[in-house]
């Protein structure tokens, strides 16, 4: 196994994103750069190192976008990394690898939500117990209110996607509108609606 990957094997299963310091970011970018180049040349070990470094962050956002549907989030994570492997040679380094990968993964989730919305409405029906159990696992170590995570998970898929991307992930409306293929005003209106639904859920629970 690659040395960097071996060092990362001790990563705890669940951890909160902490704001990294500048030297840490610089080291990550440098390290990504070398491994991206090696992986683009077909080195699976280098790609494994990239996976180990970024999988938790990618899987985290995909779990939130899926409404804590673990099977779906795992499927999206798998799809995102396979696509990343196939497209590595087109990665020009204009943005950080982490940013590129994050965007690609979110796009995989949004595409899937779009096709589900068109094709199988039953697939987005919620199993309340499953949502609460999954949310409990995620939130347990953080002392956060379970009802907020559960309420977000219960939002309709599109409203949840916009709320998660804007209020949790910190995306701008311009970026969300571009990824979703909607007008800027639509993104803003849907965020407003999502927040209203979320407050409604929380008030009913309290």
């Amino acid at each position: 196994m690659h040395a960097a990957a071996a060092n990362l094997m001790g990563t705890p299963r669940l951890f909160r994103s902490a704001p990294p310091t500048a030297p840490v970011i610089a080291t990550r970018i440098d390290s990504d750069h070398a491994e991206v180049a090696a992986a683009a040349g077909g080195d699976v070990r280098a790609f494994e190192a990239l996976y180990l470094r970024h999988a938790a962050r990618i899987h985290g956002v995909l779990r939130r976008l899926s409404g804590h549907d673990s099977a779906r989030a795992e499927e999206w994570t798998q799809e995102a990394f396979v696509l990343a492997w196939q497209r590595l040679s087109s990665f020009r380094g204009e943005s950080a690898f982490a940013t590129w990968l994050h965007r690609l993964a979110v796009n995989v989730a949004l595409m899937s939500l779009r096709s589900t919305r068109r094709g199988d409405a039953a697939a987005v029906a919620w199993d309340d117990d499953a949502v609460e159990n999954a949310a409990a696992v995620v939130m347990a170590d953080h002392g956060l209110r379970l009802d907020l995570a559960t309420a977000v998970a219960r939002l309709p898929p599109r409203a949840r996607a916009i709320l998660v991307l804007h209020d949790v992930e910190g995306w701008k409306h311009e970026e969300i509108a571009r990824e979703l293929g909607v007008a800027l005003g639509t993104s803003k209106a849907q965020l407003h609606r999502a927040r209203g639904l979320l407050r409604g859920h929380l008030e009913r629970e309290s």
């Binding site: 669940l14 994103s17 938790a56 962050r57 899987h59 795992e74 994570t77 040679s89 995620v138 907020l148």
Partner: protein, 165 residues
Amino acid sequence: MNEFEWRKQLRDLRTDLEPPVQVWTAIVSRIERNDAEGVTASDSRRRRNSGQWARPALAVAATLVVGIGIAITLAWAPPSSPGVDVAKRADLLESTRSPTGNADANASELARNPVLAATDAELRELQEQIQRALAVQPDSARLQRMLSRTASERRRLIQYQSQLG
């Protein structure tokens, strides 16, 4: 809960979550399967690149076909619309479809009018381009529609030439 607390709690939902081990196993297995099937990163890039030039080329071709069609209609439309003999139409269709067929006869008929001949040459070139693209993407419904449209424009061109005498 005030707005500040609300926003903070939402931001605190941003946690990393390591996927189960089997996710990486599945990824490696898919990568290896793709490699075995010859789908490599460079292959997918090549496909994307060919798609990048093909789309604008198709758009230009489609615009030309429609533009030429409109030009023919405006410039050579007869005052009345005489019915076209069904047997003649079948012959024209056959000659346009077949690269050898009646091509020479049509060409000589069109050569009497240099503008029509030039238009026909352009349409022929378009047909060849679309056929080349179809060789790469034989199942493309859009390309098939474009080929059919181009053939139809050539038939109309020949009909107008016949009507003009």
